[in-house]
Amino acid sequence: MGDSLINANPIIYEKTGERVLEQDDFDDNVEDKIDNREVFDLIRNINDPEHPLTLEDLNVVDCDNVHVNDDENSVEILFTPTIPHCSMATLIGLSIRVKLLRSLPPRFKVDVKISPGTHASEEAVNKQLADKERVAAALENSHLLSVVNQCLKSKRSSG
């Protein structure tokens, strides 16, 4: 597998710190809205399909490209493949989608797209990711599902 890596030695970016907890977070009477940072925290630790790194390490996702509107039930995520020809782009997008499918309340409408101008086949990938039925069909494929789960597995449970 060593020879077939698409990007053998990618650039590493600095991680954002953990969210700082505030007094309100522990107050039963205050309602916390779902915000950009919270959704970013959901996806930043997704594992990259080919490196032992997270999507945040590689700057594939960053907090500025996560847009959440709790009141209007909408989430939009733009992600940036490490290189414009990255063949993993669809898989990464799918992983983000599945993670949010499992972690967000069903009232949200989620859009996962490639940041404009960062990938050669941007449109095709976006179309695939937006097609609910294709996403559902992809997850019927047990091999694909296990690859996605591999990306979503937290470091904690992999011991």
């Binding site: 990618p10 039963d28 032992p52």
Partner: protein, 1020 residues
């Protein structure tokens, strides 16, 4: 005599009476019958035409032999019986198991001769077909051989390759883990101590075919053999002899490229063990190929366990290559090897912004750890590259990465002693320069790394830094820590470095540090409006962190003592006392403790003379101050020398007993003096009133010493009498607790005699009188507190295992059903079982009986469970919370056997309305899932629905979070138990994803993810 023997044998032969062997062996040992009697009586059965009968007779002999001690049989008897049983091996195969079992007993006899050993071995190898025997008999064979190999190795060696060949035949295709553990041990001894001759490859094959071991012990496995046992056993065999190199290394190479994670890890560790034994010559050819495999794992696996194994293997390879250095022509081997490695890594070091930089750093560290030569070579090449790399970069992240690697190399250099040849010597300037510039980069993590790097440099053996370098370092750190906006992480790192510099080079560094800090303390803050200066509390904090070593302690404590008596510094009292306490934790030598004793006397003086000035009184009785002072006293009392003990103790006890008149206060208003109404002019802490709070200061002084010296403390009896009276006085809860602790501390160590028993019975009488009397609402205030006193006294006695302790704890248990005292009694269980920092612990030399908590748990559990079931519903809660305190503080291994009894109560606790109880119960459950999964497994039906209900418990987010954590923990149970609940859990958690609190949502996401992903393959 023959008659009973005869009938016993018949009993065995006819009725299968299992007690016969034991009875017969006893009569043998008593000398009532002889071995010949038994054999003669058995004669008919031994030659019977029925195989079944012969087998049974042989079994009887074997069973008897197993009952005898190693030294019972004489030389002749051993020989005779061995020869006889060997003959039996030539009989029908049906008789082999009992014959082997008998031989197993004989092989342990002390008086076994070389000839007999040879006979037994040869007969087994010739007659026994191990593969067709049952497991227990194969085990007998291995045990016999193991016995000979460990007890009579010389005799076995005579057999030479015959033994080796015989063993190979026996062990071939063994499958049972219980047998393999013994077989591997035998093989290890054989490989190391017997001539293998032409069988090197055969014996390698016979053991290596198990590699890598993949074994999951069945649940409830009584043998207790783990995968780890087998792996280590096999690894020892594979690394037993350099002769295996040619076969083993290719095998390891193959497994290293395997896809199985566990196989890779095993192969890497085995490689590490083998390299050490095989030696540099055997490893030379393949070392570069191994390196390439290891490199791949370190760069790509991303798994910490694999990486750890890879690092171990690489270090072992280098270590082995380094041992080749004694032969001059081999010098090439290590140097060449490392050169090749460095060539592969150099380019990564020059691209510190990329992923492989850090892995490369770890890899080079593993190489350098191999030997001093390796370390030196790696350092010489990499440090210049790192310097170049650092200077070329403008971005922060790459610089950060460079320093990480640089620190790893420095750290490794520090593990070797280089004398004057330190590889850093020639590069010291640029390295210092890097750290110096990095410390000023405005990124916390980089600054922290730079300070750590400086620490590594200055703590190197023979550090080759000049005085100017060191003082520069100190100045730089000092500037950092005293700056107001310094991050805590950086400050603590700088403090570590300063502390090291100060204690290692006191004369050089002191003049640079203390005057600056002292100046800032004395400066009048009022008119300084400079925001860059930090305040005095920070300075005191720094002092407390960096001061250690006799000389430094002296300087700083002198200053602190001055501040303590200075009215101007009353506002800083919390910090000053804290600083004093923290410094005292680092003083254990007699001389520094002497300086601290001055402080002990000073504190006494301050309390007794200033406590009638309201300003001073309020500061001195501030909870934080009094706790700091007590901690300081405790610390000194734990280390003071016997020469000062008596002085200080009588100083304190006398002034506590006698009414000391205090200076009249001149600075405060008359109104403020009202708080001293009971004793306006004198200090009298042993009478109910405002001074009782100072008993907290007395406790460390009189409760610290060894038990046998307690009676020598001046005035101790009188003090104790006063304390016992105070228990029954209505006081504020804080001073009341101080009194209870002091009483408990003394009772715990008081000499056992009649007067102690009388004293205790009187206390018990008073307490039960006070607690059991009916009605009278007014007296309740004082009485309520007595429950705490009861708990503390019980604790003191339970800890020492006093015979009267049960009377006290029974009283406490009986109070659980009381309407008013019940919940306080439940808290008493927490008092009894929680460890205290201030009293009844090791450093106070308390009288602690082993496992007192476990005993207490077992002695009271049944009472509580039983009383719970019979109690009225409105007090049932008290039992549950007492139970929860017990569970929280008792060792899990004691709880587990009782769990089936407890489980229903735990579920009741979950259903209760008491928030704290629910939380504690869920914590306990979370623990138990780890430790007692088999009990929890059976209860999922009741547990999971309850937890799911609690995930949406409106009132408290804490309950929701705990319930979700508990659900997450459950995924550690065996998959097949969980699968039936999976859909329900995953579905039920959907609404929780929309909880109004973020903390709950986070836990819900984790729990749901774990339940969805729980069937994912662990390996790969």
């Amino acid at each position: 005599m023959a008659a009973p023997c005869d009938s016993l044998i018949e009993d065995f032969m006819q009725n299968d009476d299992g007690t016969v062997p034991k009875k017969l062996s006893q009569t043998l040992v008593n000398g009532k019958i002889s071995l010949t009697d038994i054999i003669e009586n058995l004669g008919g059965h031994m030659t019977n035409t029925e195989v079944e009968v012969r087998k049974k007779a042989t079994q009887l002999i074997a069973d008897i032999l197993h009952q005898l001690s190693h030294s019972f049989l004489s030389h002749n008897q051993v020989s005779l019986l061995s020869t006889y049983l060997c003959e039996k091996l030539k009989d029908h195969a049906f008789i082999h198991p009992p014959a082997l079992y008998g031989l197993e007993a004989l092989s342990r006899c002390d008086l076994i001769s070389r000839e007999i050993i040879e006979l037994i071995c040869r007969t087994i190898f010739k007659e026994v077909h191990a593969q067709s025997l049952p497991q227990s008999s194969r085990r007998s064979v291995y045990k016999i051989l193991f016995q000979f190999l460990t007890g009579h190795l010389k005799d076995v060696q005579v057999l030479g390759t015959d033994f080796v060949y015989g063993f190979i035949q026996c062990m071939d295709s063994e499958q049972d883990p219980r047998n393999l553990v013994i077989a591997f041990t035998c093989a290890h001894i054989i490989i190391q101590h017997l001539p293998l001759g032409v069988f090197v490859e055969e014996i390698f094959e016979v053991v290596s075919c198990y590699f890598p071991i993949d074994f999951t012990p069945p649940s409830n496995d009584p043998s207790g053999i783990t995968q780890e046992d087998l792996i280590l056993g096999l690894r020892k065999c594979l690394s037993a002899s350099p002769k295996f190199a040619q076969y083993c290394l290719p095998l390891l190479m193959e497994k290293l490229t395997s896809d199985m994670k566990s196989a890779k890890i095993d192969a890497l560790y085995t490689l590490a063990s083998c390299a050490a034994v095989y030696g540099s010559e055997k490893m030379f050819e393949l070392q570069m190929s191994f390196f390439n495999c290891i490199k791949k794992e370190m760069f790509l696996s991303g798994d910490t366990k694999v990486e750890e194994a890879a690092i171990t293997a690489l270090t072992a390879l280098i270590k082995t290559a380094s041992t080749g250095l004694t032969q001059s022509d081999r010098k090439k081997s290590l140097e060449g090897f490392i050169e090749d490695i460095l060539n592969e890594c150099k380019s990564h070091l020059l691209q510190p912004e990329l992923m492989l930089m850090k892995s490369t750093g770890r890899l080079l560290q593993a190489v350098a750890t191999g030997s001093a030569d390796a370390c030196s070579q790696v350092a010489m090449v990499t440090i210049p590259l790192l310097i170049e790399s650092y200077n070329k970069q403008t971005q922060h992240t790459p610089k950060h990465n460079v320093i990480i690697v640089l620190n790893k190399i420095s750290e490794t250099i520090g593990t070797f002693k280089f004398g004057n040849q330190s590889p850093l010597q020639s590069m010291k300037e640029p390295v210092l320069c890097i750290y110096g510039s990095a410390i000023d980069i405005d990124v916390t993590s980089i600054q922290v790394l730079a300070v750590k790097g400086l620490y590594l440099l200055v703590s190197l053996h023979n550090e080759c830094l000049t005085d100017v370098d060191k003082t520069n370092m100190a100045d730089k750190c000092l500037n950092k820590v005293t700056a107001s906006q310094c991050e805590t992480e950086i400050r603590s790192e700088c403090n570590i470095l300063l502390s090291f510099l100060l204690s290692t080079f006191p004369d050089l560094i002191q003049p640079h540090v203390y005057p600056v800090l002292f100046n800032k303390l004395h400066n009048d803050c009022m008119d300084v409006d400079d925001k860059t200066e930090c305040d005095k509390t920070v300075i005191l904090n720094i002092l407390s962190e960096i001061t250690s070593g006799l000389h430094n302690v002296k300087i700083v404590t002198q200053l602190l003592y001055k501040l303590l008596i200075d009215k101007e510094y009353l506002d800083l009292y919390v910090c000053i006392t804290e600083c004093l306490y923290k410094i005292s934790t680092r003083c254990t030598d007699i001389d520094s403790v002497l300086y601290l004793c001055e402080g002990v006397k000073l504190i006494h003086q301050i309390i007794t003379t200033h406590c009638r000035c309201p300003r001073w009184y309020n500061v001195l009785t501030n909870t934080a101050v009094i706790s700091n002072i007590s901690s300081f006293l405790r610390q000194v009392a734990a280390h003071w020398s016997h020469t000062v003990v008596n002085d200080i103790q009588s100083l304190y006890t006398e002034s506590f007993l006698k009414t000391v008149s205090c200076k009249n206060c001149e600075c405060c208003s008359i109104e403020a003096l009202a708080q001293f109404q009971s004793n306006p002019e004198s200090f009298c802490p042993l009478k109910p009133g405002c001074d009782c709070v100072f008993i907290s200061v007395l406790s460390p002084i009189i409760c610290c010493g060894p038990a046998k010296l307690q009676k020598d403390i001046p005035n101790i009896e009188e003090i104790q009498k006063y304390l016992h009276d105070l228990i029954f006085e209505p006081l504020d809860s804080v001073p009341y607790e101080y009194i209870c602790k002091c009483v408990a501390g003394l009772l715990n160590k008081q000499e056992q005699n009649e007067s102690l028993d009388t004293l205790l019975l009187k206390l018990l009488d008073n307490l039960s009188g006070c607690l059991c009397e009916k009605g009278n609402e007014n007296s309740c205030y004082g009485n309520k507190q007595c429950v705490a006193a009861l708990a503390w006294i019980s604790k003191a006695l339970i800890m020492r295992g006093h015979k009267l302790s049960e009377k006290f704890s029974d009283l406490l248990v009986s109070l659980l059903c009381h309407q008013v005292y019940g919940c306080l009694a439940a808290d008493g269980f927490s008092i009894i079982l929680t460890d205290n920092d201030d009293i009844l612990n090791k450093s106070m030399q308390a009288n602690i009986r082993m496992m007192y908590k476990q005993r207490f748990f077992l002695e009271n559990l049944d009472k509580i469970v039983h009383n719970y079931h019979t109690a009225d519903s409105d007090v049932k809660m008290n039992y549950l919370s007492a139970l929860s305190h017990m569970l929280k503080n008792t060792n899990k291994s004691v709880i587990l056997p009782e769990l089936s009894k407890l489980y229903p109560l735990l579920i009741q606790s979950l259903l209760s309305n008491d928030l704290d109880l629910q939380l504690v119960t869920m914590d306990t459950l979370t623990d138990l899932i780890f430790n007692a999964s088999n009990v929890i497994e059976k209860q999922l039906d009741s547990l999971i629905p309850q937890l799911l209900k609690m995930c949406v418990y409106k009132q408290s987010l804490k309950v929701r979070v705990s319930a979700l954590k508990c659900l997450t923990q459950l995924t550690n149970l065996p998959l097949h138990k969980l699968l039936p609940y999976r859909n329900k859990v995953v579905r039920s958690l959907v609404p929780v994803l929309d909880d109004r609190k973020r903390l709950v949502r986070n836990e819900a996401v984790i729990a749901r993810q774990e339940w969805i992903l729980m069937d994912m393959d662990e390996d790969k």
